[in-house]
Amino acid sequence: MAKYDFNNSALVRFFEDQDFLQTFVNDIAMFRTNFGFWRNDFQVDGMPTPLDDKGLAAFTVAARKVEPAVMMDMRAPLGGSKDLEKQGFSWYTGSIHHVITPCWQENAHEREYRRKIYEQFGNDANLMMQWSDSVQEKIDSANSTLSNYCAQILSTGEVKHEAGRGIKRNLLKVPIPAENFSKAGKVVWTSPACPILDQMKEKEIYYRELWGLETEPFKWQIPYDVFTKCFLPNEQIRNWIKDVRTNRELATTDTMPFTTEEIQSYLSLYPGLSPIEIVVEKQYDHSGPVHGWKANTVVFRPVGYAGVIKHTEDLDQYMYENYGNSLVQKTFAKVGDAGLFTLMNITRVDGDYKTWKTELYGSFIPTLTEHPYHVIMDISTADD
């Protein structure tokens, strides 16, 4: 005889009691945001994008374009003024697609087998733990998908879904001006002799003058692999650090190693260069680890959030609540930051028995809201 009644267990309640499920997933101690790279640079849009009857969840993003103010015109007394051309703004539209994680599923026989295995523990804690781990895995899957999208849009201006086992295609292209796609400078950054700091400064001056944004805060975003292969061995950077240390009467040798933190700290002293942020991101697909950030690419952009995450509703809960079969039971709970993702537990009929399935789905895509001032630089190709 079973030591506990499985049908009264918490795990079963997750599939039958929606409030109980939502309370459980709301407990911040239960589920974490791993793969949270996207949170550094993007906010979730406060309002969802409506999904219209034609299946389209479309949004529009607009950004002002500015040019530097020019000096005054000299005039004779009582002379009038001449106008300047008015500034426009850049806009684009996009639409939101739908994604779903791999599911967790179990049939009645599999569940009975597991119950017998765990019966010796006297409660359902291990079954719950296994299911909770699978939910954490789904939340990780959703966050890593969003982080992959965000890394792509920051480093390429485009979002593509090329991961997973379902539909794959291009999703969104931001109209970043062609002049914002830049190259390394005179020398590719991968050369240890490249005057990286001078070239970065030159690019920064060029773009600030182009837009007239001399004093606005900007930053450089450098992926970790570019930092390690280009910055750590770079002669100009090493000489700069050694000079600063010598000036401060700190011990310095020609071959001393520098930590990442030290390099960032000394580079912040280099005149005329905006702060450098090292980007660390990685996700996992069925093929292994992948990066959304394009290789050999750095970004120069305004400080602050790069854009917002647009999101829309899915049909699953609506269809179930309005037209659901009484033999199928579904519970739904919002999970993740700002409730971006929806956890769905399904209990279905299969012959004389039940089957259970847990899925997590969402509809979201990042957008750039500073795209006229977003510079993407290929550091492996020298200027023409």
Partner: protein
């Protein structure tokens, strides 16, 4: 200002005057295509992932409840694509001109469509397949038709024959685009956005993601026309019914 892409593309701009415009039309009736037998049915079972419509219409068009199609996965049951079975029932033919029936429940033909006479066996090679270069909606002996003009004469077809989509132009042994019937649409699908592409590389063309269902029993006479090769794979043994 509307945030809807469709509205933005067609409603952008400003005019400091007045516009007068009128339109009229009819919302047509409907017909139930599905047989609704007693008992617990298991027809509304969706495929994993769904798929992008790989052969979308080249303009604003519609697919119908009960339309058949092929969900095509790779060997692992992954990376799906969906191919809608588009069919056009012939009224008459004269060299490169073919008239097909236009009754409000038919698939809409477009310039650029590559069509062929349906092969004898589903999935087998057929005859000639050529491109439609003109489509005219008109009447012919009291019947509404589309008059299609092909760039080259296709195989001889006559009243009641069915044209289907081909993978590519061919002078012989053209390949029918849909090779297996394994899915059915549970409702009508309106596809007003164009241009539309089946390829995943365009950012701006409309892409349609769709998840048909795996099973259905339909009344044949209410379905889109079907060639013999599709009727031959009917699972139902009831006269007048078609089962996927």
């Amino acid at each position: 200002m509307s945030n809807n892409y469709y509205d933005a593309m067609y409603g952008g701009g400003a005019f400091l005057g007045a516009v007068q415009l009128q339109a009229s039309g009819e919302i047509g009736g409907y017909r139930n295509v599905f047989v609704n037998p007693d008992g617990i049915n298991n027809n509304l079972a969706h495929f994993p992932f769904g798929a992008q419509l790989a052969n979308p219409f080249k303009g604003a068009a519609k697919a119908y409840a009960g339309d058949l199609g092929e969900m095509r996965y790779n060997d692992k049951g992954e990376e799906p694509k969906y191919y809608l079975l588009k069919t056009y029932k012939v009224k008459s033919m004269s060299t490169t001109t073919v008239k097909i029936y236009r009754d409000g429940y038919s698939h809409i033909p477009f310039v650029g469509d590559i069509l062929m006479k349906a092969p004898d066996t589903l999935g087998a090679n057929g005859g000639k397949a050529y491109t439609v270069t003109a489509v005219v909606a008109e009447e012919d002996t009291g019947k509404k038709v589309w008059t299609l003009t092909f760039n080259t004469e296709i195989d001889t077809v006559s009243d009641g024959d069915v044209l289907v989509e081909a993978e590519a132009e061919a002078a012989s042994e053209a390949k029918m685009m849909v090779k297996v019937i394994n899915s059915v649409l549970p409702s009508d699908y309106d596809m007003p956005f164009a241009p539309s592409t089946g390829a995943g590389t365009s950012f701006t063309d409309a892409k349609y993601d769709i998840d048909p269902v795996m099973h259905g029993i339909m009344y044949i006479h209410r379905m889109s026309p079907m060639p013999k090769c599709v009727l031959d794979v009917n699972k139902s043994r009831v006269n007048g019914w078609y089962e996927v």
